[in-house]
Amino acid sequence: MTDWIAAARAAGDVAARHADEVDRQARFPAEAMAALRDAKLLGLLVPKDEGGPGAGIADIVSICHLLGQRCAATAMIYAMHQIQASCLVRHHGGAAWQRAFLKRLASEQLLLASATSEAGVGGDVRSSVCAVEEKDGRFALAKQATVISYGADADGILVTARRTPQSPASDQVIVVVSQKDARFEALQGWDTLGMRGTCSNGFHLKAEGEVGQIMPVPYADISAQTMLPTSHLVWSALWLGIATDAVARARAFVRAEARKKQGATPPGALRLAEATGQLQLMKAGLVSALRQYEAALGSEDALSALPFAIAMNTLKITSSQMVVQIVGQALQVCGLAGYRNDSAFSLGRHLRDAHSAALMVNNDRILANTAQLVTAVRDDSGLLA
């Protein structure tokens, strides 16, 4: 176990203590996020050259999986932060402003949020309505951001926008906006079924700053090579965490039953065996996609190849479906004890959190995108290639 994993476990203990309250009150998991910040886990991806420890995606995936078992909202915030961090780390293109910001990410353990969704385009993150306006080395930007998770608590926000007011909707850039240069006007609140602690309020966001804050690489490349694969990996990891904890609760329930009726296997054990198998499949899918991503890293061609995009899309679709299925199986095992909100076997929060997975970039949208890609590919790689 690395020091990072040990630190993440400790932060996970803090997250677990507050998870029910965070969920009930739909409040920011401040205690858990402070623990992650204090343990310097926010700047984990920052390379050594920029003053960070230079951890890799596998470390982040492992931490998301751990946190997901304790408090899914905390895990989701951590995951979304690291998606933004990986975009900066991999695509700063040597630009001075971006590198300085990365240094701050490591030294100050900044928390980063994302504003891709926008009124008018919904979940179509590859289209923007708003545009960057440049003048005399400065930029201005205004976005009707329908959902910015923990927007009020973030230090920086990566905002997508059209490159210029004349650019087509798909010609986008990412602008790194500091909280202090931005004005937030509340658009809508976040009273949802699950993932309540992410505080994903809507804002009318207005920002200004230096032109250097615009990332030099087109968003299309950042999206395909980094944002999309890392999102699907870290999300799947925390969804696996939710499923893992649900199965753990089911197992504890079955074990308690077995103790009471010594000699007989409790009926729930059958469903538990079934859920354990599903969990194994879900884990295998994640680990294999993670290995695929690690193998593609370093090659722009491999990262922008269609079979790679298909694999990463498919990971998201299957994990988001399996988490709901597995929590449902665990609920079947625990019965009313799982259905109750006041029992040690309660699975209500797990189920509600799990249902966000298919909507967080709608599965039908991802499937429609994949449907186009599968028409184009032809060679199937070998079994162990």
Binding site: P168, D301, A305
Partner: protein, 86 residues
């Protein structure tokens, strides 16, 4: 007889993939900046396969292949399309 380049340009002109008129764009102009989306790239590829009776191998199925008239012509040439005329 028209050149591969002219036929690629003609194809790009007839469809709604771009938001800028292809005639105003240079051979090396970025088609993504001109409005080509990732989704449209796939249909563009299928149309090119149909028009030139070729198949793009997986190794060419990436964003860069379709980023300009030049790169498309280069890709077609690399899979056996005669550059001068068809």
């Amino acid at each position: 007889m028209s050149s591969v380049r002219e036929r690629v340009r003609a194809l790009l002109k007839t469809t709604g993939w771009l938001q800028t008129d292809i005639d105003t764009l240079a051979d090396d102009a970025d088609l993504y900046t001109a409005g080509l989306t990732s989704h449209a790239t796939v249909t563009l590829m299928l149309s090119l396969e149909e028009a030139f009776d070729v198949e793009f191998p997986d190794s060419l199925l990436r964003r860069r292949t379709f980023s300009s008239v030049d790169t498309i012509v280069e890709a077609l040439t690399s899979i056996g399309v005669d550059k001068a005329a068809v």
